[in-house]
């Protein structure tokens, strides 16, 4: 199980990093989503992997799973979800305004043209 989880995190991170290094907004946003999935699983695994153990104190139970990473990962999921929505909206606005979805700065000429339009 440890191998499965670890390799899943690794593959998600590798794919995410590759996509974030692309030049257009859509692959970059996809890459960041993959990275946030990877980090969510990573946080979850940081409390050690335990199967079938309760997270809260109960009678007659000796092994527990760590409840804190579950709370942390919930916060992280909510925040990354909201942030992705924000970046999609801003990216869409920028694309519709300039008809160009490159992430990097364009050469001076097209920049000044865009300023003239706005």
């Amino acid at each position: 199980m440890e191998f499965l989880v670890a390799s899943a995190i690794g593959i998600l991170t590798a794919g995410g990093i590759y996509l974030t290094l692309r030049l257009r907004t859509f692959p970059v946003i996809m890459g960041i989503s993959l990275l946030t999935y990877a980090v969510n699983v990573f946080i979850f695994a940081s409390g050690r992997l335990t199967v079938g153990a309760p997270p809260i104190l109960s009678d007659g139970v000796t092994t527990y799973t760590d409840p804190l990473p579950q709370a942390l990962v919930l916060t992280a999921i909510v925040i990354s979800f909201g942030m992705t929505a924000v970046v999609v909206m801003i990216g869409l606005g920028a694309f519709l305004g300039s008809d160009d979805d490159h992430v990097d700065d364009q050469p001076e000429a097209s920049n000044s043209k865009a300023e003239g339009q706005s």
Binding site: V39, I90, Q117
Partner: protein, 522 residues
């Protein structure tokens, strides 16, 4: 237990939704509530500062849960001073935004402004690393909204870069936090400091990785080269009052580095040996050079100020990465100076923008209100470039003095002094092109199409500049206070015992019947 420590966070957090819900169609009500809120924040911050000035550690346990389990807010000399600095900066920025009408060029400026303040205040006051992440996100998400305030395609494009870069930073932050939690089982800063010190020499791989990741995250926030690429276009394209408020956001990164790397990973800890002197110091020195060369090389006035911010953050980081009490004291003095000077310069650039066709460094007819604006630019540039008599000079002197014992003293002196010269030439070039060469341009005779900036705008900029003058006049007292701050940072024992040994509900830190819970919790 008094509740004063949490009011800098709660007050803007309540004010912002109130402004959105009750006053969304009336800019006058929004303005008065926003200004009243910031004035109240200054009063509260002043009170906290006075309370903490004698070395008391203020502690606030949320819901009265004791430290490693509950979230705590901690106010010591450093954090209360940063809260006060933020509140004072916010007042002048807000006055400028109102005076120049920037707040009326899009919707919800004041609500986002208050949320931004809430995030910054929270980041300064929290005593828990995960909580620090949450407050970083609060301040970031508000800053995304503020950054694209007023709209326009170039601003949106810069906004995309800014948001994406910060999202990657947040993801890295989460990786760092999860590694720290996996290694130590806690995220409370005081508790972490204890546990990291207990890690044996053979098991340091994970915590080393976590320490480096955390440093990277804070370096992104502080715009240390090579992680500074997001800064120039975002700060240049952001609305001027927002860019001025962002002057404190880079300082949040510097604050987090000071806090985490004096308490959790102190400089004499073998786990993180080499992180400060081998890696952070050269990066900081290169930041100074890149910033000042950028000042000389840039073609637009707003980018010039953005590069000056990178350079002055580099100066702060040089001083921090000495990691001596003298170095931190000098860094804190320079932080106050750099925040005020950068904010003033961003606002002055906006004064130029209102009176001129564009911000290109080319010869054009004089700016409307040339004399006053030029005088203010002159003062701001002197402060930023570090010429006497303003506080930039004193700050650089303190940094140079603090580095005297360091092994890299020759490098530090050469880089700081050399790049200061480049920066001065850059500012002189920009100022003479924009303000002096303009006199030679043919006057068209027709009345200028540009309006004079409002008096309130000048008052806001003048207020920031007079704070800089006050900082120079009272340099002795301020530096004395930052020295006591640095002393408190390098003796974290009272902080840790205050956080960990204060009783909360259901838990007595030394009682036996709860030690079992503690073990299971980790």
């Amino acid at each position: 237990m008094t509740h004063w420590l949490i009011t800098p966070i709660v007050l803007p957090a309540l004010l912002a939704p109130f402004i959105v819900l009750a006053a969304r169609y009336h800019i006058g009500i929004q303005r008065s509530f926003s200004v009243a809120g910031v004035l109240a924040l200054i009063a509260i911050a002043l009170g906290l500062c006075i309370q903490a000035s004698d070395g008391t550690i203020l502690l606030y346990q949320l819901s009265d849960w004791a430290a490693p389990f509950g979230i705590v807010l901690v106010g010591d000399r450093l954090s209360t001073m940063m809260v006060l600095l933020t509140a004072v900066l916010a007042l002048f920025v807000l006055l400028y935004a109102i005076g120049s009408g920037w707040d009326n060029r899009g919707r919800h400026f004041h609500a986002l402004f208050q949320f931004q303040l809430m995030g910054i205040m929270g980041a300064f006051l929290t005593g828990d690393l995960f909580n620090l992440f949450v407050f970083f996100e609060v301040l970031l998400i508000a800053s995304y909204g503020l950054m694209i305030h007023g709209g326009g395609t170039p601003r949106l494009r810069a906004g995309v870069q800014y948001v994406l870069f910060n999202l990657i930073g947040s993801t890295l932050f989460l990786f760092a936090l999860a590694s720290i939690y996996a290694e130590t089982g806690t995220l409370n800063m005081a508790d972490l400091a204890n546990r990291v010190a207990m890690i044996g020499a053979a098991d340091t791989v994970g915590i080393r990785v976590a320490a480096v990741l955390l440093l990277l995250v804070f370096a992104i926030k502080a715009a240390v080269v090579p992680l500074h690429f997001w800064l120039p276009s975002s700060y240049a394209e952001a609305p001027a009052p927002v860019a001025a408020l962002f002057a404190i956001m880079t300082k949040v990164g510097a604050y987090a580095i000071i806090r985490v790397y004096t308490m959790i990973f102190p400089p004499d800890l073998s786990v993180t040996a080499g992180l400060h002197d081998v890696w952070l110091m050269p990066a900081a020195l290169i930041s100074v050079v890149v910033g000042m060369v950028g000042v000389l090389a840039t073609k637009k006035l707003d980018r010039l100020v953005a590069f000056a911010v990178i350079g002055s953050m580099g100066m702060v980081m040089v001083s921090i990465s000495l990691f001596t009490p003298e170095g931190i004291a000098a860094a804190l003095y320079y932080t106050i100076h750099s925040t005020l000077a950068a904010a003033a310069l961003f606002l002055i650039v906006d004064l130029v923008r209102t009176g001129r066709a564009n911000l290109d460094l080319t010869s054009q007819p004089p700016v409307v209100g040339n004399a006053l604006t030029a005088g203010m630019f002159f003062a701001g540039a002197i402060a930023m470039a570090g010429l006497p008599p303003l506080s930039g000079f004193l700050g650089k002197l303190l940094v140079l003095n603090a580095s005297y014992e360091s092994g890299l003293v020759i490098w530090i002196w050469a880089v700081v002094l050399g790049s200061s010269l480049i920066g001065i030439v850059g500012f002189v070039r920009a100022g003479s092109i924009v303000f002096w060469k303009a006199q030679g341009e043919a006057q068209t005779g027709a009345p200028s199409e540009f309006e004079r900036p409002a008096a309130l705008s000048y008052i806001a900029v003048g207020g920031l500049l007079s704070l800089l003058i006050a900082l120079s006049v009272f340099a002795g007292q301020v530096h004395g206070y930052t020295t006591t701050m640095a002393a408190q940072l390098f003796a974290p024992q009272p902080y840790m015992s205050k956080v960990l040994d204060t009783e909360g509900k259901l838990s007595k830190p030394v009682a036996d019947d709860h030690s079992s819970t503690q073990e299971e919790g980790h």
